[in-house]
């Protein structure tokens, strides 16, 4: 039985566990129908030209994990950004772990999707936002929607901001030989609200994990959302991250994606601008080796005038890794005075590594400034020589140059401890010891 059939039959079992009379379940049923007709995307589809899911479909994933064993905080501490105090929403094999988490209802809601879906006091918000920006026909998104039950729920009311950043951590224990997870997150920042979120997926063993995650983010007028994705998983973990963002006037949403590890990562990042003077920022650093594969698929839809978008993705590819960047900017006819920038720079450091990039512009308005730049190249020989001539060994010198190449993406990271952490991971990845802190 292939994965699609398995998922379809699991849906019947899934229905036993949820309230089928809930309006949300109608959305689920609709979604599974769509998935049934579409199936998993193939390389024949333009959007999946460079990423194949064939390998994943052959694995016999367990869809409903068994009750997992408890984890000690000290064993997993390193996966948290533990230097600072944060709210934490932790899932172990897809199941919420209350003793590792720290949630709140103090002025803001930082809690679980399952309680938001089930408790009557959230009904109105769920009706207003749930599955409202997520695609209703993209097959992996609809697959997630069909099984949507658990994940993080963050609601920041008007002019509020949580006291500290929020961490969302998904841990896979490896109790199952192969596990499929489908977390569903909903982040709402009402007018003038502000929130910072760090998300991480981590597999604790070499057992295979396949995560198909969907996150919906709503930013109200003047709201400010910072979302950091840390993807530094082990070689048997695959992640498909579907993020949908809806922005209103004057809002700022910044998503930083740090992809350093994992077997197959696909980031579908979609921005929809529904207001004026919006700022959308998408940044990413990708450093890969071995046989890793990362595919960044971004969309920024400028639907209103006077908005901006900034994209900057940097990639360093070694080993037999493959990197894909597919950035699409659509500017509607009425979206005059749009400023859209897109930049994608790549360095290949191995003969077996591969980069495929496709920065697209689709522009229907005339009074716009849109540009994209894309490069694939190597380290500057002269810069290398300069460093070497000053007594820095070649390996360190090239590490230093790559570090500098990737580093400027970090400028817009607003949590200093996170910046330091990412810096360390980058330095570690590149095998350089930086004798200074940034």
């Amino acid at each position: 039985m292939d994965l699609k059939d398995k998922l379809l039959s699991s849906f019947l079992a899934f229905e036993d566990k949820v309230n089928v009379n809930d309006p949300v379940h109608e959305i689920r049923s609709e979604a599974i129908k769509n998935f049934e007709s579409k199936g998993f995307p193939t390389k024949k589809e333009e959007a999946w030209k460079y990423t194949s899911l064939n390998g994943l479909q052959k694995v016999d994933f367990s869809v409903f994990p068994k009750e997992s064993g408890a984890l000690e905080y000290k064993d997993i501490k390193k996966y948290f950004l533990h230097e600072i105090d944060t709210y934490k929403i932790v899932f172990i094999d897809g199941v919420y772990s209350s003793y590792l988490s720290e949630t709140t209802h103090d002025g803001v809601d930082v809690c679980l999707m399952s309680s938001a879906l089930n408790k009557p006091e959230y009904k109105q918000i769920i009706e207003l936002y749930f599955n409202k920006v997520a695609s209703k026909d993209e097959s992996l998104t609809t697959l997630n929607t069909a099984f949507s039950k658990e994940g993080a729920y963050v609601y920041i009311p008007k002019s509020k901001a949580p006291r500290k950043p929020i961490q969302i951590l998904h841990l896979a224990t490896g109790n199952e030989a192969s596990l499929m997870l489908q977390p569903r997150n909903l982040i709402i920042a009402e007018q003038n609200a502000e929130v910072q979120i760090i998300e991480r997926h981590q597999s604790l063993t070499e057992n295979e994990v396949f995560t198909n995650s969907v996150t919906e983010i709503f930013a109200g007028k003047d709201a400010h959302v910072d979302y950091y994705k840390i993807q530094n998983d082990n070689a048997e973990a695959s992640l498909i991250d579907n993020t949908y963002i809806s922005q209103k006037d004057n809002s700022i949403v910044r998503v930083h994606t740090f992809s350093f590890g994992g077997k197959l990562i696909r980031n579908n990042l979609n921005y929809y601008q529904n207001g004026e003077h919006i700022d959308s920022t998408l940044k990413g650093v990708t450093i890969l080796g071995e046989k890793q594969h990362v595919d960044h698929y971004t969309l920024v839809h400028h639907a209103q005038p006077n908005c901006e978008s900034h994209q900057d993705y940097k990639g360093i590819f070694g080993g037999r890794s493959t990197g894909v960047f597919n950035g699409k900017i659509i500017v509607d006819k009425i979206a005059q005075k749009t400023n859209a920038f897109q930049q994608n720079n790549n360095i290949l450091i191995s003969d077996k590594a591969e980069v495929n990039t496709k920065p697209q512009l689709e522009i229907f308005a005339d009074d716009v400034r849109c540009s994209h730049g894309c490069t694939i190249g190597q380290l500057d020989e002269e810069a290398l020589f300069y460093l070497q001539s000053r007594g820095i060994p070649k390996k360190e010198a090239s590490g230093l140059l790559m570090y500098a190449f990737a580093n400027n993406v970090l400028e817009s990271v607003r949590i200093p401890e996170l910046k330091t952490r990412i810096n360390k991971i980058i330095a570690n990845k590149l095998g350089v010891r930086i004798g200074f802190d940034l």
Partner: protein
């Protein structure tokens, strides 16, 4: 009095196709439809040898099983392939020795087009192989070329007289099964040009062919094969205008270029097929496959100015097979009214130290859609490959669209690839600056567009550059940014 935007728009809209006229020459036309019998009939009519007939039939069988591609960013009513006549030739086809023998009506046509043959013969120094309705009717300067050992003739003639060359190279760069329209062309191509430059010869003149579609309901399937032997050089020009027609006409040409070691081919196109009227009615469908193969140290340079056709779908490409080979692509694509263009290039780097340059300028006005689609592929063995791409789009008016779809695939670490794209409109301050200095708005736009396209216009041979500038003016004057 100031020239208002409205007036400009109006003038642009009412600017009818200047070269729209129809020459009444009796044609020898096959019945509509396509099947094996028609393919055999075409081959027979042209008196082709058996191997050619078999080649066509093979292509037809491949085509039958193919589907029309859907991926281009264009929408159009698909042609009904059974409602097209696949062969039409002017019925008198003697070989002319002098202009006096040429059908006077045909001469009149050329006069209207401004390409007086005798004038060109004397002044321009251009050998013109005029293709009128698919069959070559006049070849000039053949003698001069023959002295150098250059073969420049229609492809039908080449099949008869140089079968060894045609057999060896036809379909090697664009295989029969390459794509839907290439397969169709391989099965039914009516005529085209053939050019062979021998070893070490520098072709003393620009070779040029004028294409015209001239028979209602006739698809034009041209086949061009240019072979530049080692250390040779040739500059080839191709230009076309077509008469006004209500019905959509299909043009599916195939151009194959082969540049052997150290050879250089420069291929320039000015395309001005009938673009349809201002309501988007009629116009030519231009679905062309153009590809060149570069051997060691060879260079192929494509330059194109695309102003016509209702729907354009073409990607002149370079396969950089040999080490140190160079591919270039310079393009200006102008769309107006309801025109749609999906054009660009493919640079396939296979050899070491290969270089490619892509400069693409898209100008969209009216309700047109203009897309750049390009591929830069660096193979894992292509050490030190270098590419630079730049595609700029200029939008005029708020009802048109400009799109960019660049594909960049690198699997060699020594590859160095740069891609830049910008989209903008003509700045009000730029126009204001010109106005202030006494240049009216229309002239200012022409000036700015000319500057915008200059990098490409500069690459055109003299004869073409003038024509191309005229075309840009016709296509765009009056469009206000």
């Amino acid at each position: 009095m100031a020239y208002t935007e409205e007036e400009l728009k109006k003038e642009l809209e009412t600017k009818e196709y200047e070269y729209g006229f129809y020459t009444d020459i009796e044609s020898d036309t096959l019945p509509k439809g396509l099947n094996e019998d028609i393919v055999i009939a075409i081959s027979k009519k042209k008196g082709e040898p058996q191997w050619m007939t078999d080649w066509r039939l093979d292509a037809f069988r491949i085509w039958k099983d193919m589907e029309e591609p859907e991926w281009p960013n264009v929408t159009y009513e698909k042609p009904d392939f059974q409602n097209i006549s696949y062969y039409s030739a002017p019925n008198k086809k003697p070989k002319y020795n002098s202009l006096d023998e040429v059908d006077p009506e045909l001469l009149e046509t050329f006069k209207k087009l401004g390409i007086s043959i005798d004038e060109q013969k004397k002044l321009a120094g251009v050998a013109v192989d005029i293709v009128m309705d698919s069959v070559s009717v006049a070849t000039t300067f053949k003698k001069t070329l023959a002295e150098k050992g250059i073969i420049f003739c229609s492809i039908s003639e080449a099949i008869q007289e140089h079968p060894e060359l045609v057999k060896k190279y036809l379909g090697t760069v664009v295989p029969k099964k390459d794509n839907f329209y290439a397969a169709l062309n391989s099965a039914v191509f009516s005529d085209g040009s053939f050019c062979y430059i021998p070893k070490g010869v520098r072709c003393p003149m620009e070779l040029s062919t004028y294409f015209r579609i001239n028979e209602a309901g006739t698809g034009q399937f041209e086949r061009t094969l240019v072979i530049a032997d080692e250390e040779s050089y040739v500059s080839y020009l191709e230009g076309c205008t077509a008469p006004m027609r209500d019905e959509n006409q299909l043009h599916a040409a195939v151009v194959e270029l082969i540049a052997m070691d150290d050879a250089e081919i420069k291929y320039s196109t000015v395309q001005n097929w009938f673009p349809g009227d201002k309501n988007g009615k009629g116009g030519v469908f231009n679905f062309v496959t153009k590809r060149g193969l570069c051997e060691k140290n060879a260079k192929i340079s494509w330059t194109q100015v695309e102003t016509g056709s209702a729907v354009t779908w073409k990607y002149p490409s370079c396969v950089l097979k040999g080490n140190n080979s160079i591919g270039e692509f310079y393009s200006i694509a102008v769309t107006n009214n309801f025109q749609q263009a999906d054009t660009g290039t493919k640079m396939i780097h296979l050899g070491k130290n290969t270089k490619s340059t892509i400069i693409s300028k898209g100008i969209s006005a009216g309700k047109s859609q203009n897309s750049y689609r390009g591929l830069v592929k660096v193979n894992s063995r292509a050490e030190n490959a270098r590419n630079f791409s730049q595609c700029d789009s200029l939008l005029m008016g708020n009802e048109c669209g400009a799109h960019t779809f660049p594909y960049i695939e690198a699997s060699n670490k020594s590859a160095q690839i740069e891609h830049e794209a910008t989209t903008s409109k003509i700045g009000e301050d730029q126009i204001f600056y010109c106005n202030q200095r006494g240049i009216d708005t229309e002239k200012a736009i022409a000036l700015i567009v000319n500057g915008f396209s200059k990098e490409v216009l500069n690459k055109l041979p003299m004869e073409f550059a003038v024509e191309a500038q005229k075309l840009l003016e016709i296509s765009l004057e009056g469009s206000v940014g």
